[in-house]
Every structure is written in C-alpha cells, then in structure tokens.
Assembly symmetry: C2
Homo-oligomer: 136 residues x 2
Amino acid sequence: MRSLGHQIVAEFYGCDKALLNDVAYIRNHMLEAAVKSGATIVTETFHHFSPHGVSGAVIIAESHLAIHTWPEYGYAAVDLFTCGDSVSAEIGFNHLREALGAGHVSTMEVHRGQIDMMSMGDQGQPAMKLVTSQTG
Amino acid sequence: MRSLGHQIVAEFYGCDKALLNDVAYIRNHMLEAAVKSGATIVTETFHHFSPHGVSGAVIIAESHLAIHTWPEYGYAAVDLFTCGDSVSAEIGFNHLREALGAGHVSTMEVHRGQIDMMSMGDQGQPAMKLVTSQTG
C-alpha cells in the first residue's frame, strides 16, 4: 500500500511526572527527536499549562510531531507524523520514550494519504499498519 | 472506556486544490474550526511550503488540531485531538470538511490516555472507537 505519510500514535504511560511538567525539557527533547529522526524543523510551539501539563507541536518539512502531557497521571500522548523515506518516526519515538522514562508504551501506526485514493474517489479509510504494545 | 482524550484522524480526499495551497485560508479555517468546536486557542503555527503545500498546528487548551495538505493530490491529513466534554472535535471536523470542499473523507477515532492504564501498568494500546467512511 503506497501512502504519503506514516503516523505513529503513541501512548506513554508511567513516565517521570516531574519531566512531564517541564516545558523546556519537553521542548528540547521534541526538537532532538525531530533532528535525530532526520527531519527538517520548520517551526514549533510549546505551552505550559497551569497548574500542570505541557502541549506542543513541531512542524517539520515532513509533517509534524506533537505531544500533550498529563503529569498527574504520568501520561503523555505523542504523535509522530512523517512522510518520505529519509525520516524515521521510530527513531524519534524511541528518543522520546527514553527521555520521558516511559514505563509502558503502546503504539498504533497509521498510513496517511493512500495514493490509490487520490484518483479513485473510492471508499477508503486510514490504514492501520501495525499495533504494538511494549513494556519497557 | 474512560479516556483523557479523543482524536479524530481524518483523511480529506478530492479537496479544492487551490484552497489547499492557500496558507491564510487554511489558517483561518483551522482557527475557526477550533473556535466552533468550543476550544480555547493557546498558540498556533502555520507554514507554506514551496512549491506547494501547507502545514500547521493549533494548540488548544484541550490538545491540538493539525493539518498537512498536498494540493497536487487534492488531499489533506487532518488531526483533531480534544479532551474534556465541552469541546466537540466533530464540529471542527465538519467545518474543515466543508471549508476544503472535500469530496470524500474517511476518519478513524481514537481514545487517547486510557484511565484504567494510569495505575495498572498493564498492557494496552490506543483504542479505536469507530471507523467511518463517507462520500460527500
């Protein structure tokens, strides 16, 4: 199946709660994840919520990385959406997993933009490639 | 199943190609989608690629909206991630679908951050709620 993009929808449970509330730390590691993945950073925005929680997105030339953290639950929702063969979302995923100290992660991988759909106008839906669940 | 967030992963096919390449138009309608959804906009960033394509994200107090467009294919990848009961990702989805003139859309809905996982440390994966496919 040919598609334009590849998205990892990741759930990080059991993370370090203090790190999840540190916007500078989250931002630095999201940017590092992008660079390590081989992505070109275009723009980014991060925000710290009161009393706790961080949200942010990095727009890369190859799509985006996004994160939302719930320090009170030790949980972070991470999306890594990439396109092209030169970028590895998995590398970014592994970097963030380690940086946040995730005790358990689960992921869903989605193919975005099915080439066959571009001209057919046929029925179609996001294609799930693989679901993995890992305990670190 | 109790979860912190709700994400619509949407594929918009057969969109108006000129609109998909208009960064101001995309930005305006992404912000309008957020407002109509009942979300509180925190920050946003949009970028126009050369020769064509737009990427952007709107961080809302309730998570984010993101878009990537491929005008050459008439395709846009849209993510609407919300949390809480006061925001309707569906309203934002419907707004963008109409604004971009999508001929065919498909969606996948994912529950993010399963409450039961927060304390159990058990195996788990993102929970797909519903897959719909609609031709407009």
